[in-house]
Point group: C3
């Protein structure tokens, strides 16, 4: 267990008490210095490390490991005042001013120069300190400024495009500039996609999204390279923001640059199923980590402060939510932040030590969590067992979100979440992986609404099915290539042959409209003018705009089977189809799972998380690490409770 | 039948196939070159017409006539980069950048100079080509940039004001600048109505709307004049955007400058009655054309791409929707576009050849439509028969939309649509005409919510009624003069005497509130503190804020009758009142009409369009041109079907 | 009775009729010249007072007193054109242009110089005119531009901060700049809180709100000082905007600078209880006036023009609404404006003379109101009798509205209105006063959701309760100090000891969610993880996130009692609690009050305002001034009627 520690918010007298309480709570590591720039470098030509040395020494004496931030997340006022050209500018041309955090353009050479200089100072001073175990580059890169439209960014975008395309003719082809008279004579003519009178060029926007992700990654690399050079033995990471409300970084492309995948996660009460989103995000983070264990760098002990209504965690939820992360591959659980701020924009964000202080239920729960995590420490390193793969792609997300599509009601992450939740509630576990991943080990592959697909993905899925795999592709998949060009001849172009179907048109449904299938299912959002020249029709619409038209098809190919679903089923019908598919495919389903009761296996450890309203009995043999009790045949878990059973043969 | 043709989006190998398929489909004309500027003039000082010549030749060989665009709709990047001062600026001061289309300020001299130069080239090169039958200036002028607030526009606005008012005193009087200390000393002090701290001066805004319409028209004229000079024998047009979601051009003032009225129309699924809006727009386009046949330049074969949910056309709808245009005066049906784009911002807009290709139901429907249009070819030139006039005015629309009015819930076009639909559903046909039109030929004139009215309109209506006409004026009409000055002494000032009523105050209703009339009608939105000193009270409120107050009045004047309706009736009550008015006035109502079954007569041709759920029988004698069948007594039209009967006496 | 008079909107021929009609209506004073700058000073170096002299003379001859405006509210175009640097700029960097009113930055030295020069001219010319009884500085200061983010304002903000804090270290401490690396080296580095990438620093924003209020007040003082110097015998005021939709001025700090408190009030149909808001605002205005009589400078005779739907007043409402102001302390009733404008942005705002003219029900009601106000003239100067105090603070409002709080559903004014209405409907009268007011005279003090509280407030409430007072504090009170720093150790920090409770966390409820208390009450919005270590628990939750947790507590302290309510009760439960509290405290409740029937006592005068659906009988003895009838035992007031009884012993 760990947390962000921001000692500059408190007088030194509090620091010693902090270390004592950290030990009481079982805090094993802290992330230090994330927002300390202004105090570490109070003047352009003066550093002040003394106070920071003292804090580090106190932590070290307390046996607390340090994830050392490079402290560059928020530039001090002296820097932004001296260089207003480093401030970010939005698509409308508005400067985003200092007075908050992250007031810097990712492409700014001035900012990068100052940041890298500070990183060098940090590495030189702290790289050999025994408490420092990990470097933490910047913070939540892109959380607030994932894109910048300023003139400096424009120049960087042109360089990026020149590297990507080589010639302006290639760019003209890729962007389809023959449309609307947008033909460029040279890269020098290209601008970022600022506000325009009508619809912008979608490939222009898509490439700007790619550029923006790459540009921030490049900034990460600049800091990382300093650290690698000066402290080659310390791992380097940064806290990714794999989540449903931030799409701007393609973490599959970031992952190879991190020595350890770290992730921040906050439950979002605005979603219909916040915990299902957590499970999905955890599975995706594991996908980003290529299946390796990862670190939850930040989460909250209770409410956050940035949602419209910031729901507090009820008793027991802190433990359950933390174990969910562990069950899905986290080997460490961190929080923002140690002590709730007394001032500033995040003072109503919960912490390990709340405003009420040590004498509080929240701190007692934190102590309990520390104890629980110690008890299950042996789980670390065990692989999560999953035989379903769910394909996910940030490029396709970006492309799906572009304007002028058939329906603005279609949201990529909703489609992915729905299928992830259906599989999870059946007791199966899914890896959420890049479309071009090796799929050979999976019994079932689900491809929800993968609008943009490469030829390689199409070939990989073809091979997977022919090799005996079970595949489900859903509506509005395989429509365009990497340049957002339609794959002609009928939808879903990339997968048409494999699935044996052909759609001639999309027929999205108006909000509030539903259709019925002849198996009794209800669906909404989307239908397609579909024919099934080479597939079995499993279900057809009985009403709506396309009565009699195929909605669900199935094709045996090679040793496998390829399904196509051309509409959005409601939750019950999705569950029923997931049930059939997992049975057909022989997917492992842990007995006892149901909506509210989540079961996951990491190696020999079975996690049972019961958010339901009543107790559950789950078949297991071994020892419940949380209680130390023997488990013989079944483990009983009360409502709101959990078990982590080291299984020892039935 | 015709369509936009954008050959630059496809390799030359496709062009020949295009012409072949066009012939198969019955495409008689194409609009060519709308977005070709960047490829026709790839450098400031270099034109490249070779590829275009080839396309034109292929079309000509295929017997396809060409509506030749001037190609100036979207400037190439080299022009916008060289002259950023030509970019439009919105009321908030934000520049609208290139990367889309129409990135030009209507008042920009630089842009106009370049555009006119290209038009000259086009006219010189193609003006004598036998395939070229029509010039198409720019494209959908004002669709995205109807107004610009930049400094160049500000200077143009001042010139326009100086022309309009002659002296600054006249402007001060018209704008009422004594209010809020806005008195100007000279035209030089006037700015466009950019964002302000509080409510802007409404007459300032109204004049800016007039200026903006005139300024774009002036741009049209600049191109048109080149064409007239160089190719005096070829008619010139541009595709107007007569619709419910674009109000910025006063097409009654544009019409005299066009040799042929052309119009784009797209069904809008966001409206409660999309087809009724089509009928209204068609009738208005005919009004703009002073009753002459017009050309539908663009429509869609199925879904568009710019609505939140883009509904596809069901089988048969393409034919029915196209016939609706013809029934209401279109002599040609065009579409955007020939082949669905593979890339760019409109790739999900339907086309004659969809992504699925020639082998598709959509293309087969297109072929069927081409055949149907050929069969009814003899209809061309026949006049639509209408004896109801519905007064409509863009100036009044602009003035109605100004802020600080009694109710933001009142929307002018909704009021007009409601009365147009009521009349249409009774089997009557309305011309939608300018308020100062000659009304003598109509049996019934309806004036829905004509907030701004000239003295001439008031005099015209007075004469119309005295001459025996039946008139209905509805709430919030005749309130202000052309300067948006209240006509004092009681509402509706312009028509108070004619109607014999006097309202002292408006009493708009809160959303969700309704009132009841003593004839059982339900109404909402609006009531007035009305007295009827010189009119019969037909109905009074029984509840709401004004129980006992007149809601509907009737006054016999000269040989005619003048009705006033002071509230918004619901659909049923509107239909009932329309029924009474049309009967009283002896309006022709085609038997068989009802909601869903639309009947219109063009000369000797009776159009029956059945969107209802069951078959209809409509009295007719003659020949159904669509089927060639004889019609004796009645024509039977199935649900979703149509008939076009050449009538030959009953 | 009085009104704004804008004669420049009408030709001189109308002026004489105006004075005649004013006398008929009983207009006793007019506010003159508010928007006359452009005509009084038509050129930078030329004044034109002739026409104004004439108007003033006519009014004087008619016996009408003049509240003389300084005429600086809206600068003429020649000034804004010559000095665009005086235009306001918003937080996004957008200039707000002329063409409306109030186009000036409050910190602009250029504007101030010109305004002060005009004030000097006005004072010299009119200061000795016998009709001039009051000076009216500018108009509705801050109504449209309460804040400006331009560079001139930035410099002024820095000066203000330097005055407030003395040293930059003190600012760093107050703003908590250790958070997010915001440490400043000097005041020169500080900017206004313009748009930022993430959450801004809340104390930065709070101080900018304080600065903005002070800056406008400073502008007022600049004009006031000229008037004091040149016309020391004429009182100076300006029309405040104490209301629910404008929060930007702290009128408690403004009040000492005004010789007479004047206020504008308009009913707002968007609120659930518009008249209850009026009563609240009147009571607050009286609080601003420290209990002294005040002047209603503007209200409307019927509809306004700036709400989405502008509801007209029904017959009788004008009288009732006006008497409500008088009942709550107004000694004069003014209106905007004399004659409804024929042009401009406010032409649909009602007036004393409507567009329909003198022959109208509205004007007849105005005449009746003038007569009624004359009849109750003796009420003037009588003090409103109130023994409940409701604490209110603009600083706390500003702080409550900052972002990143537990729930955006919590709105300070809603919380205050709810409690004010509950007390009012019981027949009690509340003074709405500053938290640091002398509370010793009140039987009950209510502190709704006072998020920001000073130590002085805490001490004052403690003394009040120990001295025998009854106190109710509601949820989310006493959370932070004046720097928006959390008071640590448990909520509500400022009042924790006094109330004997301690909250460890907030648990706000999602919209649509309710909780039940064990006394049957329903509540929503907010709950707290509360313990009552030193208080009696009166009610607990039976469901929701915190079953069994205290919701309402009571603690006897010294001779008094302190209640704490940790949730938002619905209206019925609020009424029940208000009933208990007022009974316990012995609060005076006027018999006959109920929802819809409002009773207030000013000295010996009892006001009965019946907005209910039936007649009421209210105990009283004396004379009804409105009718002259004797009242013996009870006064009967019909639905929609009123009585003002001079009581003479029962």
């Amino acid at each position: 267990m760990g947390c962000d520690y921001n000692p500059e918010q408190w007088p030194p007298s509090v620091w010693r008490e902090d270390v004592t309480l950290m030990r009481e709570a079982g805090v094993g590591f802290v992330t230090l210095g994330v927002f300390s720039w202004a105090l570490l470098q109070p003047e352009p030509d003066r550093y002040d490390f003394g106070w920071f040395d003292e804090v580090l020494e106190l932590l070290h004496e307390g046996g607390i490991a340090v994830d050392m931030a490079t402290a560059t997340a928020a530039p001090p006022p002296w820097l932004t005042n001296a260089h207003p050209e480093m401030l970010p500018v939005d698509a409308e041309g508005r400067t985003l001013w200092p007075g908050s955090r992250q007031s810097w353009c990712p492409s700014s050479p001035v900012f990068r120069e100052h940041a890298v200089a500070l990183v060098e100072q940090m590495a030189l001073r702290y790289g050999s300190h025994p408490a420092v175990r990990l470097w933490h580059v910047s913070n939540e890169l892109g959380c607030h400024i994932g894109k910048c439209w300023c003139d400096v960014s424009a120049a960087a975008f042109r360089r990026w495009l020149s590297n990507r395309y080589g010639s302006i003719d290639a760019l003209n082809d890729a962007w389809g500039t023959a449309f609307w008279s947008q033909h460029y004579r040279s890269f020098e003519e290209v601008l970022p996609p600022r506000i325009t009178p009508a619809v912008p060029n979608p490939t222009h926007e898509l490439d700007f999204a790619r550029f923006s992700s790459d540009e921030l990654l490049d900034f990460y690399r600049a800091e990382r390279d300093v650290l690698r050079r000066l402290t080659p033995d310390i791992a380097v990471t940064t806290n990714l923001m794999v989540s449903s409300h931030q799409s701007e970084q393609d973490y599959f492309s970031w992952a190879p640059e991190l020595d350890l995948i770290a992730q921040d996660h906050y439950l979002d009460a605005r979603l219909p199923h916040p915990r299902a989103e957590q499970s999905f995000t955890d599975d995706l983070t594991r996908g980003v980590a290529s299946g390796a264990p990862w670190l939850l760098m930040e989460s909250s002990t209770s409410a956050v402060n940035w949602q419209p209504v910031n729901v507090a965690k009820r008793p027991g939820e802190l433990l359950l939510d933390s174990l969910r992360h562990v069950a899905r591959g986290a080997d460490g659980i961190g929080f923002f932040q140690w002590r709730a701020s007394q001032a500033g924009g995040e003072k109503f964000h919960s912490a390990l030590v709340p405003h009420a202080g040590r004498d509080s239920e929240r701190f007692r729960e934190v102590v309990g969590l520390g104890e629980a995590l110690r008890r299950i420490g042996e789980v670390a390193g065990s692989p999560v067992e999953a035989d379903v793969a769910l394909l996910f792609d940030w490029n396709s997300w970006w492309a799906s979100d572009l304007s002028s599509h058939p329906s603005t009601e279609l949201r990529y992450v909703d489609a992915v979440h729905q299928w992830h939740r259906a599989v999870t509630e059946l007791g199966a576990t899914a890896d959420v992986v890049h479309p071009e991943s090796d799929l050979s080990g999976y019994r079932l592959v689900i491809v929800p609404t993968l609008y943009l697909s490469s030829d390689a993905t199409a070939a990989s899925l073809d091979a997977y099915v022919r090799g005996g795999g079970q595949l489900l592709v859903t509506y509005f998949s395989g429509i365009v290539d990497e340049s957002d060009h339609i794959r002609l001849g009928g939808y879903p172009g990339a997968f048409r042959e494999l699935l044996g179907v052909r759609a001639e048109e999309f027929a999205p449904l108006l909000p509030g409209t539903t259709v019925t299938l002849d198996d009794g299912s209800t669906a909404d959002l989307w239908t397609e003018v579909l024919t099934a020249p080479d597939a079995e029709v499993v279900a057809r619409y009985t009403d709506g705009p396309l009565p009699g038209t195929p909605a669900l098809t199935r094709r045996a190919v090679g040793d496998g089977v390829a399904w196509y679903l051309a509409t959005r089923l409601d939750d019950a019908a999705t569950a029923a189809l997931a049930d059939r598919l997992t049975r057909d495919a022989g997917v492992t389903r842990l007995a006892g799972a149901e909506p509210g009761v989540e079961l996951v296996r990491r190696g020999r450890y079975l996690f049972v998380l019961n958010r339901g309203n009543g107790p559950v009995k789950v078949p297991a043999h071994g020892c419940d690490l949380l209680t130390g009790a023997n488990v013989e045949g079944t483990v009983d878990v009360q409502a709101g409770g959990a078990a982590v059973v080291r299984e020892e043969g039935s």
